[in-house]
Amino acid sequence: MKFDVMLTGVGGEGVLTTQVMIARAANIEGHYVRGVQLHGLAQRGGVIPTFIRFGSEKEVSSPGIMQANADLILAFEALEAVRATYYARKEKTTFVINDYPLVPIYASLFNIPYPTMSEIVRRIKPFAKQIHVFRTSHLGREKFGSAIFGNTILVGIVTGLGLLPLKADSLREAIKVTAPREMENNIKAFELGLQLGKEKRSARRVT
């Protein structure tokens, strides 16, 4: 068994913490885990493509995912979902997108406007089995006082939707270790996402 998750977003959004959270949950279930975080220069407002791979030790060894081979792509920033298509293909990949634009300074500088959500979905469609769009950062800010909780809500949603093959309990345990200072709110954010995901399961998809 091998499952390839890609997280993408912008430096400062908490992508790395989310990576650690999911990796720990996979470890709790006894999977062999690999992955890579790409930071450094990219920490400062750049794109942070991040990978988590889990399954059997025999099948998982490269730290990064092969082109066109992600099972699940979580885009914490909407525009970055488009650049993540490098790792996606129609037969395999599900996109879950946080509709939260962080407009790069280049939009104004080079006069290349930030695309609308429907434009983003249109560009991704040829690479996606399914596309789900949620406004989790807004929800995080509204319910828990900070957009950063949108990350845990999103993890809850993919768990609820059955898109991330890990148990809710493993993620709860991982959240406790990964975010001890904001544990209570993070657990609540996860439960909220889980619920949203479960409800959405029967609802119509965005695509």
Partner: protein, 628 residues
């Protein structure tokens, strides 16, 4: 912390964290380092746990000093370690070879992280494996976090057994990769020792120098004999074509071969210096061809070529004929090379897929790294450009301000190495009458800039450049490590911070200090300094706003944020196109297609500089919900 978990447990660790755990299992007692990504999490992890574990840790002022301190500990019988990125090793390089000759008493591991593809670097993609050859030191290369732990531990043992410092070399995709790691028993660190005079060991003047040289040659020979077979592994397989690989390339090879359904024999080399001649010779003697998979330079490949001359002259050797010497490897690079050699296809056309992706991403708003919202450097760059204009030469240096190389700042005309902006500017100032401004960070100032400023004073000729020290009181780029000006050490002890202006005065230069967040103060100080002849330095002081926000949060306070008064905004675009803070957003609002400038409250860090540069006075502190 997972890195301190119980023995026998399986945890997910970053390669750098696994290295720390390996050192703890070896009983390391003394660690000194200057941070440099992709190695930064090694010292950061030590810094967090040093007190708890009971070992000594310090952030040294640079890599050379760190190496020297660790040498002192290892000579005195305490297991020691130092870590750095590839360029950091260049700084330490002056002191390393004599220690390789004299050897050590307790185990001494020199960890170095290369950065193929330059994820965390500018400048070059240097391959530090050459250093092992030049300095005559053994080098171990892990492939994944588990091996980071195992081989760090073993490196201490080899070092102590042969009394020689040992390199542990990684690359970004190892140190920054995560992986499942099974933990072993930690050893209580020995932190006290004693230096014993021993001329036979430390006296490195001629003719005893040649004795030491022969001794290190002999040590390497013995290490090759003892560990050449033990550390390197052959994974048996089918056919007459073999793979020879090491480091992260092994991980790619393993997975790529599985994807392709191929099972050739693989020789994995962990001890990449000295490489075992008999190991390589045994592997290649019955092969028709081999593919050598290694990032950057063809070091293994050249070695195989040399051995093949005797062991198997007809062997066909592939490597850099199919793969690049620059950039990093990945599955998409390794698979086509294997496809070519084995004549088997995966069925995914990477180029075709790439074309489709490019077409889907056409005209997509680019996103590059950028100085954070609220960054004091943006404010300083803005003021310097106001005073010195576009024509002045702007010398760059190493730190967050490297991002000043990008649009719209464009104020890093060249970037060489830590402190080099000031040194190179000296030469320009002597041969040219151009205005030159050399930027340098606070940590970089202490690390390598002081001799260059001193040289301005000593050789006070030509048009002396202005040095601008961007002082945010922390080593920010690598993750907020303290330096001599920060006021605390790597162990978390409070110390009196060294003031940069005091040092500058002692070096013989004029100095002015300005608040980095005050455009008025900055411009006044810059204008005054511009007219001064001779060595001159502006210290632009303002804390990293990421840390300021953290300090606010710790006190339960919210950082003040700003907003734009839509009535007063004339949409001139200075805040987005000249100042270019990422928190300020220009957007088209439907349904009327109106352009609106606003500040994203989620990322504004309240530096208040946009308020000062807005010609209409349209930016002011935002009221929070519930505030009057």
């Amino acid at each position: 912390m997972d890195v301190l978990e119980e023995p026998g447990k399986k945890v997910v660790l970053l390669g750098n964290e696994a290295i720390v755990r390996g050192a703890l299992e070896a009983g390391v007692g003394f660690v000194a380092a200057y941070p440099g990504t992709p190695s930064s999490e090694v010292p950061m992890t030590f810094s967090r746990i040093a007190k708890k574990v009971g070992l000594y840790f310090e952030y040294s002022s640079n890599e050379k000093v760190a190496f020297e301190a660790a040498t002192g500990a290892a000579w005195s019988g305490v297991r020691a370690m130092t870590s750095q990125k590839h360029f950091g090793l260049n700084v330490a390089a002056d002191s390393i070879p004599p220690v390789a000759y004299t050897g050590v008493r307790a185990g001494f591991v020199v960890m170095v992280a290369d950065d193929p593809s330059a994820w965390s670097s500018a400048q070059t993609e240097q391959d530090t494996r050459y250093y092992a050859r030049m300095f005559k030191m053994p080098m171990l290369e892990p492939s994944n976090p588990q091996e980071c732990l195992d081989y760090t531990k073993l490196a201490f043992d080899i070092s102590e057994e042969f009394e020689i410092p040992v390199f542990l070399r990684t690359t970004t995709k190892i140190t920054h990769s995560i992986g499942t790691v099974r933990l072993g028993e930690m050893k209580k660190p020995k932190i006290r020792g004693r230096f014993q005079k021993d001329p036979d060991k430390y006296y490195n003047l001629k003719p005893h120098l040649q004795v030491l040289h022969e001794r290190v040659n002999e040590k390497l020979k013995q290490i090759e004999e003892k560990y050449g077979q033990k550390l390197n592994t052959v994974f048996p397989g089918e056919g007459k074509i073999g793979i020879i690989t090491s480091g992260v390339s092994f991980e790619y090879a393993k997975e790529a071969l599985l994807e392709l359904g191929l099972k050739p024999p693989i020789a994995k080399i962990v001890l990449t210096h000295p490489i075992s001649k008999s190991f390589v010779s045994n592997f290649i003697k019955d092969k028709e061809a081999v593919l050598v998979l290694e990032e950057l330079e063809p070091i293994l490949e050249n070695f195989v070529e040399q051995i093949a001359k005797e062991a198997n002259p007809n062997l066909v050797i592939h490597g850099k004929d199919l793969l690049p010497k620059s950039d990093e490897y990945n599955l998409e690079r390794v698979i086509p090379a294997l496809e070519k050699i084995f004549g088997k296809k995966l069925g995914i056309d990477f180029n075709d897929h790439k074309k489709k992706v490019d077409s889907a991403s056409k005209n997509l708003t680019p996103r590059k790294p950028v100085l954070c919202p609220g960054c004091p450097h943006r404010s300083t760059f803005y003021a310097v450009k106001k005073v010195f204009g576009d024509e002045a030469i702007y010398a760059g240096d190493i730190g967050c301000y490297i991002l000043g190389a990008l649009d719209p700042i464009n104020m890093q005309d060249f970037i060489v190495s830590m402190g080099a902006g000031i040194g190179v500017s000296h030469g320009i100032g002597i041969v040219s009458d151009q205005d030159v401004v050399a930027f340098v960070g606070d940590s970089t100032f202490f690390h390598a800039a002081m001799p260059a400023i001193l040289n301005y004073r000593f050789n006070n000729a030509g048009k002396t450049p202005l040095v601008v020290v961007l002082d945010n009181a922390i080593t920010a780029m690598t993750g907020h490590q303290p330096h001599p000006g920060s006021g605390f050490t790597g162990m978390g002890e409070k110390v009196e911070p060294v003031k940069i202006e005091d040092v500058v005065r002692a070096l013989g230069a004029e100095v002015k200090v300005s608040n980095a967040f005050s455009q008025k103060q900055l411009i006044q100080a810059l204008q005054e300094l511009k007219s001064i002849k001779g060595p001159k330095v502006l210290v632009s002081r303002g804390g990293c706003r990421l840390l300021t926000r953290r300090q606010f949060h710790a006190k339960g306070l919210a950082i003040p944020i700003f907003q734009i008064d839509q009535e007063k905004c004339t949409k001139c675009g200075i805040c987005t196109n000249d100042f270019a803070c990422p928190a300020i957003v220009k957007a088209t609002v439907e349904p009327r297609g109106e352009t609106v400038y606003s500040i994203n409250p989620d990322i504004c860090l309240g530096c208040a500089v946009c308020m000062q540069i807005c010609p209409e006075g349209a930016i002011h502190i935002a009221k929070r919900e519930g505030e009057k």
